[in-house]
């Protein structure tokens, strides 16, 4: 079965490879007539002059440009100039085209609130031709598709390390099955014996034997004792807690694939006691532009737009009146009688986010990685060496600095500077 699976996978793989190769070949043939030197020059010019507002295939501040030449040609001749020539006029200085009242240019101007830059003196006519060549055939010499990021990093769907209830049920089902089969074979043996005319003394069933009963009771006592202690210890802890969030936001995509820093969104981790859940305007810094994700398409990003009142069609906050907050589910929760300060750990302690939160950059759906129990806190405070030497924060700890110099102590842990005293966290 596994072999079959492999064979299927490799078949699929080879099929995709073939398809890709054919597609690439097809593209090469189709664009054989494009001058690569001109195309590359156009691409470079496009990137430095136009790409801030335009994209060949996507709407940004300005419209998507692929097909622009044909659209302007469709605008028709006017005052002895063809549509393409008017497009050149527009790119040089769009005011000229509008002032001359070329109908397509006038319509273009009124369709967008943002005004285009003026490129007269920056771009020559040949430059504009090269840019248009690139814009119309932006994928002609595309980078290999292998550069595209895999959607999501490793999947970390199963929450903590506790096996699911289904596993227990399956194991029990197997045990029951084995018991039934033993029963059936015994019964068959008995029938065979009866047929042969052998009369055997009635056997004592195995579960009626005292040894077995004692063993079962012992196992049950041990298990129940363990379960009670385990349950008691975990009461009040939420390790592995992995609730469904209102938006299927993937940290694996944002922090893993795209390598966006944790503090881009959670900037109060270094500023204050609480690390923040980012407000929606932080999402909109990028999602004003990016409206489609690799996994759920526009579905999940549309939820941000609905919550913040953004209208993707007009690219304005037109629906602000119907905006309402996203009710994220808080995962990490310390009891109220514990003081914890993020900025202290991030700034003075220089602790990495992952030390406590685990490999968030691989989590599609975030779960609580650490137990957040007192033992866990204390353990880390005992073992973690404080970056003491060149850390301004600890410059006033004169005695410890002296001890370090005299070599009476060889390292400073959080415990050395009072990190295990009750009042540090409980007051």
């Amino acid at each position: 079965m596994i072999l079959e699976h492999h064979a299927q996978a490799s078949k699929k793989l080879s099929l995709t490879t073939l398809l890709t190769v054919f597609l690439c070949l097809g593209m090469l043939v189709a664009h054989a007539e494009i001058d690569k030197a001109k195309w590359s020059e156009g691409k470079a010019l496009f990137k430095s002059n136009c790409a801030a507002c335009h994209n060949p295939t996507a709407d940004g501040t300005g419209p998507a440009l692929k097909g622009a030449t044909a659209r302007w040609d469709g605008g028709g001749s006017y005052q002895g100039k063809t549509g393409t020539q008017w497009l050149h006029v527009w790119i040089n200085n769009w005011h000229d085209a509008v002032n001359a009242k070329y109908p397509y240019a006038v319509a273009m101007r009124s369709s967008r609130p943002a005004e285009m830059n003026v490129f007269a003196g920056v771009l020559k006519d040949a430059d504009i031709d090269n840019i248009l060549l690139y814009v119309e055939n932006s994928d002609a010499f595309a980078a290999p598709a292998a550069a595209a990021p895999a959607a999501g990093g490793g999947s970390a769907q199963s929450g903590g390390n506790a096996p699911g209830a289904s596993l227990y049920i399956f194991v029990l089902f197997l045990i029951v099955l084995v018991a039934i089969l033993i029963g059936v074979t015994n019964r068959l043996d008995q029938i065979i014996d009866e047929k042969k005319g052998i009369v055997t003394a009635p056997k004592t069933r195995f579960y009626k034997k005292p040894n077995f009963i004692v063993a079962v009771i012992l196992v049950l006592i041990v298990y129940c004792g363990y379960a009670t202690v385990d349950w008691g210890v975990h009461l009040g802890r939420q390790q592995g807690y992995q609730p469904d969030q209102p938006i299927k936001f993937s940290h694996a995509l944002h922090a893993g694939t795209h390598k966006i820093d944790c503090q881009y969104c959670h900037q109060t981790a270094y500023k204050g006691k609480n690390s923040n859940i980012p407000s929606l305007n932080t999402c909109m810094n990028c999602h004003k532009n990016v409206s489609k994700g690799p996994k759920y398409g526009t579905e999940e990003i549309a939820k941000i737009y609905a919550a913040v009142g953004w209208d993707p069609a007009t690219k304005t906050y037109a629906n602000a009146a119907s905006a309402k907050p996203v009710e994220w589910v808080r995962i990490h929760n310390l009891p109220d009688h514990v003081y914890f300060n993020h900025s202290q750990h991030v700034n003075a302690g220089k602790v990495q986010c992952q030390t406590c939160h685990g490999p968030v950059e691989t989590m599609d759906q975030v779960y609580q990685y650490s137990p957040l129990s007192m033992g866990w806190c204390i353990n880390c405070h005992r073992q973690t060496e404080v970056q003491f030497a060149s850390n301004n924060y600890y410059s006033t700890y004169e005695k410890i600095h002296q001890d370090l110099k005299n070599k009476t102590i060889d390292k400073v842990t959080v415990e050395t500077i009072g990190g295990t005293e009750c009042q540090k966290c409980h007051y």
Binding site: G121, A179, Y241, Q263, N281, K288, R330, D336
Partner: protein, 240 residues
Amino acid sequence: MRNQIIKLIPVAAIALILASCGRDAKTPGRIYMPDMTYSNSYKAYVASDVPTPEGNLMSARYPAAKTIPYGYIPNDSAVRSNPAYLMSYMAKNHYTHSAEKWQEEFDRAGKEIKDPLAYTDDNKSEGARLYNINCTPCHGTKGDGAGQLVELPGGGDGPFTSRPPDYKTRLPLENDGNIFYVVSYGKNMMGGYGFQLSVKERWQVIHYIKSIAGINGDDNGAGATASAATDKGKKDDKKK
């Protein structure tokens, strides 16, 4: 046979009990003392019991009317040139951000706002740290607009379809005040960072991006480094 099935019932019951012991990852689980874990006072990011005027349960509320922010200095023309005033909540209180008034406010900021922060190595290195967190996804580590969201490491197009201009060509065209306004409120496809970065942090970032654009730190305006040609470009840009 029937006998055997009846005998299996206790086994099945034990199985059911054991199976129900597994923890459900979708719920936070039970706690010893709810009143100690979930206190009566509101904690950050926990829903409130009292709805806001807008009708939602956010515990983050607007401060009471006429609350003065920490470090606030009144908007008086006599203190406008005071560095402390320039470092205060000025931008939040005295400039507005709406799509219609963007250009007007951008120009005003270019004239009025002067860089209040001293050019020191500490400010620049803090600016570099903040730049690498907040700006590199789009602007790239070199400030050329090749951030990892714009251009994938292999050279392909990233998900972000607008490519920021190169600082080397763009920044010399602007006054410090203009740059500050854009960092605070955004421009075109760029979002505003007034929420993420304090006024001081924004100036630190500006110090750093000016250094990677090769602009002399103490240059407080566009004039000094901009040649005649770029001056023309600047005028054109102002028309925009």
